[in-house]
Symmetry: D3
Subunit: 340 residues, 6 copies
C-alpha cells in the first residue's frame, strides 16, 4: 500500500545549547541540535512511518549540510532543500530548571531561508505526489519574501488537491522586525488549511475576536466556531492547554474540534521531570496529523497527539523520534519501569 | 573477628548506556558500567565490610579484564573468575524520564559465561571457606549449561554447610530463547536456599499457585506460606513492593517473612529524582542479607535493605557502593541538606 | 550617579565536584567552580550592578590565578586580592539526589588565606572609597590570624563610616580545629555590623540564649530582639527558613527584622528540581543587601533576597550570576515556559 | 545527466572506541562510529557525488537503526538494507600512538548479517538500475551463507551487465573461524570483477603464487600479470604500499595496473599526525573507483585515490566524508595553512 | 612605576569549533573560544604585565557578555566596550591535521561591531591616558562604518601623541563583500602607524609594488624600504616567515626592520605538534610590541615575538595567555621535559 | 610455581590534570589519575604477572579510597595501605606540547603519608613473605618522619633477606622544604639496595663526586664504579638517557651496569607522538626489575625496561598497565599497523 506523502516547508535551524542546566557559556561548550517547527513535524511523521519530504533553503556550507544530513538520518527526503550561499539561522538555548525559565536567544536574521524569494521555489514540482503540505506561522514571520513563498505554497497545494496543515505558531517579535501584517498573512494561510493547530489566542490575532470566557476550553470552543465560520474549507482545529507549575513540571491537555461538531478531549497529563520542552507543540501536531491520516477517530488522534507530546518532553533536542508503537505503549499502559 | 565470607556466582555484564537522558546513539557516545545481578550484590556486601568473592567466567580480553578490575576496585576478590576465549555479555541502556520508560537491549547470547560448562567449575575449591553463596535466577536462564552449573553450586553449598541466598529474578525472555524448564530448574534452586528474594509472581512460576488477593501484601503472605511449606529448608522470603508513578518517581516498600511467622515491614518510601533504577533490587537483597548476617532482627534487616535500595536509585551505574554508615544515616535522620 | 561600592573580604575556594550525580571519582573527572561565602556575595552584587571589590589572599599559582580571573569575569575588582606563595583552599563536592545528601570534603587547611597575618592587610587603603564591607563567619573560623584580620577589618570599617554586613555562617568543625573562641570572636563582629544574616542558632552561639519556642518564626523574633538589645549599632537581622523534603526538593522562606520593629516575611517557596544548592544562603544575603542598598522597603528586600536564592538553586556552581531584571521577573510573574 | 549508481553489499559494524589515546575502558566511556569496508566505500562515493545504495542486513533494534541512519546522513540510500531480529556486529578499538599499535577486538560473530541466508536477498531487484556493484573479501569470510550471498551478488551483477568492484581485504582469522575455503571463494569473486583492490599477498592467496622479488612494486607487477591471465574479465588491479614508521607516521604510495599494460604510480606520501588510520584502504578504493567512473585516466585516478586515503588518516571514524573539491585541493596545492 | 597603557580597538568574535580533530558537527558539539585579532593582542599584553583596555562594540546578550567577561578574566579592562542590541560575529572552525587543512566558516556579517557608526565612539575619551593604540586590518574590512571608525581612531591617536601599532591582516574576502577600497583605507592607516606588522604582500596591496626577489627576506627588505619611504612617521616593520610542511608542522622565522636601518632576525623554529595555529600572528605582534615597549633592542624584541608565537601554537584557543617568564624560559633554555 | 612477591612503599598521589593540551583551568574541568613513583612500579609489576602489594598511608576519605581502589583494579594488594584522618597529596598537571613544557604544581604538603610516623608501620608484618621491597627517593624527601620510615623499611628488609630496589628520584625542592640532609639519608638507602635506578647526578648528590666526562655514558660508567665501591651490597645500577627534542619528541636510551662488570645498553629509541611522559622512569624501573626477577640476562632486562618505558609514553596517566606480551611484541617486531 502506498504510504501517505507529507511535505513540510520551513526553515531548518541550528540550536546551540548550554550543556545540562548550565547558563549559556558558563562552560565553553555548546551542544548542537537541529530544529525548526516544520522540520520537527517532518521527523515525527517519518518515524510514524509516513513518506516525508522537507522543502526549503539552507546555507551551502557545513552547517547547512549538517542540518539536511540530520533530517536524512531520521528518514526525511531532503532532495527538495536548496543549498545556496548564505548563513544558517541559529538559536542559542539556555535550559532552565525549577524557578528559572529556559531562554532562547535568536540569531536567525538574514538566513538563507529568510532571504530566499518566492521565485526560488517551483511549487508544482515540489508538491508533485504530495498528499499533505505542512506549514507553520514561523515561516511567514521571517520577512515579506518568506511570507509570500509560504502563501504561494499553501495556495498551490489547495489548487493541486494537496491537503494543508497549518500550525499558527504566532511569534510577535519576528513580525515586528519587518512590520509585517501578521493578521492579513495568517488569514490567507488559514484560508487554505484543512487543519489548523491554533487556540483562541491565534484566532484572536487572525480574526480579531476576544474570548472573555473564564474556562479555557470555552474560549477554545468559541474560537473554533469563529474559525469554522470564517474559513469554510477548514475541517479541524487542534490545540493543547499547558500550565507551567515549574520549569520541570507542566500540566498538558489537548482538544481536537471538528467542523461537524466533533469535540475530542485528551485529559491533562502531569508532565514531570521535563528534559526538553522545545518541540512539544510540533510533536503534538505531528501526532494529531498521524491520527487523522491513519483514519483514527478524533479522540484517538488527539490522545495520540498528546501522548507524543508527553514523550517529546523527555527527549533532548527539538525532534521527537518515537515510533507509533512507543506512543501507543504510553497510551495503553502507562507503566514506567525498565523495559527489558 | 573473622569477617563473614560471601561468594557470588553469576555473569558479569558490560552496560553500554546513552549519556544522560539521551536516546541510544542520539549522540555517538556510550557510558560504560559493569553489572550483573550477583555482582551487584557482591559489591554491596564488600562495601558493607564483608569478605566477598565473585565466581564465574569472563572473556579473556580487555572487556573481561575491565569487568573483573572494576569488581576488585570495589574490594571484591576475583581470583575465582575464569578468563577464557569468548565474548562478554553486553546490554545497551536508554535511561528514560517522565513518561518515557527506560529500555534495555540485551546482547548477551553466547557469552563466555553462558557457554561455560558445569565441568569448568570446581565447586569444592570455589566454595572453600565460604559462609554464604549468593545466586540468582538470571544465571540458570542463560542456557542448559549455566542452569546445571547453578544447580551444582547450590547443591554443593548445601552439602558443605554453606548457606544459600537466592534471588528469583525471573526473566521469561531468557528462558524462552532455549525453551528451558524454568519452573523445574528454579524449584531445584529454591529447594537449596536459606533465603529467597521473591514475591508472589516468582512463587507462582515455581509452585504454580495463583494469588487472587487484592492486597499485595496478602498475596506475598500467601506465597510465603506456600514456599515455606514446599521448601522445608527455607527460612526467609523477602521482597519489595514497587509502584511507578513516573519514570523518575516510584514508591518502594518491602517485606521480610520468616518461617517462624516473623513478618517485618518497611513502610513505602517515596523515591523521587531517580538517577538510576537498575540494580535497585540487588541493593535490597544485599541490604537484607547484610542485616541477617549482622544478626540484626528482621525489622532492622528489611529497613536496612529498603534504605540501601533507596540510595541505589540515586547512584549512576548498577552497583550500590554505599557504606553501612551511609545507609544507617538515611534510616536514622532523613536529613537531606549538604553534609559538610 | 555614583554606584555603591561594596568590598568583600574572605577566602576564595576551588570546588572540585563529581560530574552530574556521580559519586566522587566514580569516573575520573572533576568539574571545577570557584566559590567562597564572601566571593559568592561579591559576584551577586556585581551582577546586580554595584561596584564590587574582593579583598583577600590567594596562592600565587595557576589555581589562585584561576580564582581571581573568574571573579574578574563576573565584574569583580580583584586588585585587592594578594597573591603569595602557598596553597589554595579546596573542597570536593559530591552532589546528591533523592535520598542521598550532598557531601563536602574540605581540604582547606593551611591555605594562603588562612596563613595570612593581620599585618598583611592595609585596611585604610583597602577600605578607601567603600560604602559597605561584607564579611562572614567562615573567615574568622580559619585560625587566629584570620580571625584577627576579620575583626580588624570590621572595626576599621566602623571607624571609617563604612557599613558592615555580616553573615554568621557558623561552622563548628572549623572552630574546633584550632580551639578558637567562636562566641567571643563572633560577638566582636556582630558588634560592628549594621546587618547580620543570622538566625536563632547563631544568636544562641553568640549570646548564649536558648529559644524554646515551637514556631520557628517565634524563635527568630526572640533572637532578633536579643540581638538588637546586645548590639546597639545593629539595624537589621535577616535569615531564611529551610526545610528539606528530599535532596532535590526544599521549602524556603525568609524573614527580615529591623531594630525599628519592622518585620518583613517572604512566604515559603517550594524549591523543586534543585540543580545546585551551594551558595543559596549567600545569594539570599546578596539579594537582601541589594534591596536595602537600593532603598527598597524591607518587604521588597526580603522578597528580592528569597527570589535570588530560589534562582541560585537552579544554577550550577557557587555563584548566582543573575541580573536584577531576572530576579524581578521571577517575583513579578512566576511564568515558567520558555522565553523567546 | 544521470548520476552513476553504485550499490555496495556488506556488513555494517558499530565501532566502540576508547576516547583519544586512552586504553580500552581506561575511562568508562566509548565513542561510537559506524563502519564496514563496503559501507566506507559507499559513504565516500556518495560524498563524491554518485548515487549510492547500501545492501545488506542489520539488527532490527536501535543499534541497527543507528547504523542505517548514519549512512542516510551521508546521503546513502538504505532502502535495500534489511532489518531483522538479531544482533549487530561490533568491534572495540583502542587507538595507539607512537610505539603502541592500535588494537581491534572483534565481537561480530553471529550478527544479523552473518546469519542472513542467500535466499534473503533478491538480487534482481537489488541490482536493478545499478552501474556498479562493490564487494569486499570481508563478507564471504563471515560464514558459508554470507559467502554464498556474496558470490550470488557478484555473478548476478555480471549477468546483468553491472560492473563489479572487489576489494580483497583478506582476513585469515575470520576464515579460520568456520574453516572456509578462502582461496576457492575469493577465486569465484575475482572471476566476476572488473577491478580488484588487491596486492601480491591477495593474489598469492587466490592463485597460489609466490612473489620473491625484492622490490615491492615488482611483486605487484608480477601479481597483476598473473591475475590478468587467470581472470580474463578483469581490467584493473589497484593497491597501496604502506610502511609504518610509527603509529602516527606512515608512508603511503599506490599503484593502478591495467590489463592493457597501463601502469600508474602515485608517489609515496609521508602521512604524519595520523588521527585515524581505519578505513584508509576503503578511502583509496573509493577514490580510484571515482576516478575511473569519472573517466579520468589511470594516473589521475590513482592519485585521486591516494589523496583521498591521505585525507582519511586525518578524520576520526571509519568514513571519509570528503568532497571531490577537497581531494583535488590536496592534489593541486598541498598548502596546509588555515583556509578562511 | 606607571605601567604602559595599551588600548586595542577591534571586533570580539566567538569561535565555535569542532572538538579535537573532528569535522564540523561530526559529533553534535562545539567548543567555544573568544577571539579577534586585536583582542588576542590585548590578552597577550595583559599577561605580559601591561595595562590593557579593549575598545569596541558587542551584542547586549549573553554571547556579548561572555566575550567581554573572558577578556576581563585575562585582566583586560572592558569598560570601553559598548554593548548594544544586535548580533555577535561568529566563526566556525574545523581544526585539520596532517594533509587536511583547518577551515574557517565565517558568520560575522552585520555584527554589532560591523554596524557601529563612527559616531558611536568618543575617541578623546577612549584614548585618554593611553600610550599605545593597537589596530588591525580586519576592522576596516568589515564595512564603511568600521573603516571610518578605525581611521578616526588612528588619526585621533596620532594627534593625541598616542603611538599606533597596526597589523595589516589583509583579508580580501571581507573587502570584496562591500567593494571597499582596501588600498586607500589601509594607506591611511599605515600613514598613522609607528609600527606595522606587515610583509611584502601587505605592502604590495597598499603601495602597489611588486617584489620579484627570489629570497623571501629580500622581498621583505625591499617592501620595508618602500614603506619607510612612503610613510615618514613609520619606525618599525615586523613580520614572520611561515612555511607549512603539514598541518601539524610549520617552520616559523621572523624579521624586525627599523627606519634607522636596523634589521633583526629570529632564525626559523621548527614548530611541531601544533595544537592551535589560530592567533599565532597576533601572539607575534604582541611579543614584538612588548619587547619594544619594554625597551629591549630589536633583536631581543623579535626573538621574544617569535618565542611567544611558538608558544601560541601549543595552546588551544585564539589567546596566548603566557607570561614574560614563560616566553623567556623558552628563549633561554629550550628544555622540554616536565617542569616540577 | 610461587609468584615473586614485591612490596612497594610510598605515597599515593592524585593527579588533577587539564584535559588534552589545555592550560590548567582553561576550561573548568580536571581529569584525575592516580600516581606516585612507587605505585607506578607496583602497577607495572602486577601487570607483568607478579604478586604485588602496596604499603603506605592514605586519607580516610573518598579520595584515599579512590587511590587504593585504583591500585586494586590493577591487581595490587592494598591491605597494607593504612587509611587515617588527613589529606591526600595532590598534584596539578598541565600537559605541554611542541615548545611548551609540561608543568606540575604540587599540593602535597602535610599529606597523611607525609605525616605518618615511623611507629605507624610494623615492618616485620608488612614485609612478611616479600621477595623484594621497592622504594624511591621521593618518600624520604617528604619530611623527617617519612625519611625515617623509609630507612626503617630498607634496613628491616635487608635484615629479613628481602631484596631492595631503590629509585633515586632526587627532588631538591622537596628536601629544601624541611632542610633535610638529602645526601645522608639517600646514602643510608643506597647502602641497603641490591639495585639502584640512578645516574651520575644521583651519585653526585649521594657520594659527592663530579663527572666531567663529555660522553654521558662515560659519566654513568664512572658513577657506577664509584657506587659499587661505596656500597658493597649493591649489585646493579640502571638508568635512562633522555634527550628532549620537543615536548612531543624525545630520544630515550638506557644502561644497566653490574658489579661484575656487566654493561648492557639499550640503543636510543626515537619516542614520537608522546601522549603522557609522566611515569616513564617508573615504567623503566619496573621493566628492568621484571627482567631481573624473571632471570633474563642484563641485556634482555634493559631492553625490556626501555620498551616498557616507550609504551608508557603512549598511555594517559601515571601507570603503565601493559603486559609482558605487549612489551615483547614491541621488542620483537616493531610493526605499527592496526592489530586485528
Amino acid at each position: 500500500m502506498r504510504r501517505t506523502r507529507v511535505v513540510c516547508f520551513g526553515e531548518l535551524l541550528l540550536r546551540l545549547g548550554a550543556p545540562g542546566r548550565e547558563l549559556l557559556l558558563q562552560s565553553p561548550r555548546l551542544d548542537v541540535h537541529i530544529g525548526g517547527a516544520e522540520a520537527n513535524v517532518a521527523v515525527s511523521l517519518a518515524h510514524f512511518g509516513h513518506e516525508v519530504a522537507m522543502l526549503g533553503t539552507v546555507a551551502d556550507n557545513p552547517l547547512g549540510a549538517a542540518a539536511t544530513g540530520e533530517l536524512r538520518r531520521h528518514g526525511v527526503d531532503t532532495a527538495g532543500v536548496r543549498a545556496v550561499p548564505g548563513r544558517m539561522g541559529l538559536y542559542f538555548l539556555t535550559t532552565g530548571a525549577g524557578h528559572r525559565a529556559s531562554e532562547v536567544v535568536y540569531d536567525r536574521a538574514d538566513s538563507a531561508f529568510a532571504l530566499a524569494t518566492p521565485h526560488d521555489y517551483d511549487w508544482n514540482a515540489l508538491l508533485a505526489g504530495a498528499d499533505w503540505l505542512h506549514l507553520s506561522g514561523v515561516s511567514p514571520a521571517l520577512g515579506p519574501d518568506a511570507a509570500q513563498a509560504t502563501i504561494d505554497a499553501a495556495r498551490r497545494a489547495r489548487e493541486l488537491g494537496v491537503r494543508v496543515s497549518f500550525d499558527g505558531n504566532f511569534r510577535p517579535k519576528l513580525w515586528q522586525r519587518w512590520q509585517g501584517d501578521a493578521a492579513g498573512v495568517l488569514r490567507e494561510l488559514f484560508a487554505c488549511a484543512d487543519i489548523v493547530f491554533a487556540d483562541y489566542r491565534d484566532i484572536g490575532v487572525v480574526l480579531g475576536g476576544e474570548f472573555p470566557q473564564e474556562d479555557v476550553r470555552e474560549r477554545v470552543r468559541a474560537a473554533a466556531a469563529m474559525a469554522f465560520e470564517a474559513f469554510p474549507q477548514l475541517r479541524w482545529m487542534a490545540c493543547t492547554q499547558r500550565a507551567t507549575l515549574s520549569v520541570d513540571h507542566h500540566s498538558l491537555g489537548a482538544m481536537l474540534l471538528g467542523r461537524d461538531g466533533t469535540e475530542a478531549l485528551a485529559p491533562a497529563e502531569s508532565v514531570t521531570g521535563i528534559v526538553d520542552r522545545i518541540g512539544g507543540g510540533d510533536a503534538f501536531a505531528a501526532g494529531v496529523l498521524h491520527g487523522l491520516i491513519d483514519g483514527q477517530g478524533a479522540e484517538a488522534a488527539v490522545r495520540f497527539g498528546l501522548a507524543a507530546a508527553c514523550l517529546k518532553h523527555t527527549i533532548p533536542g527539538d525532534f521527537n523520534p518515537v515510533s507509533v508503537a512507543e506512543v501507543e505503549a504510553l497510551i495503553g499502559e502507562g507503566r514506567f519501569d525498565v523495559r527489558r
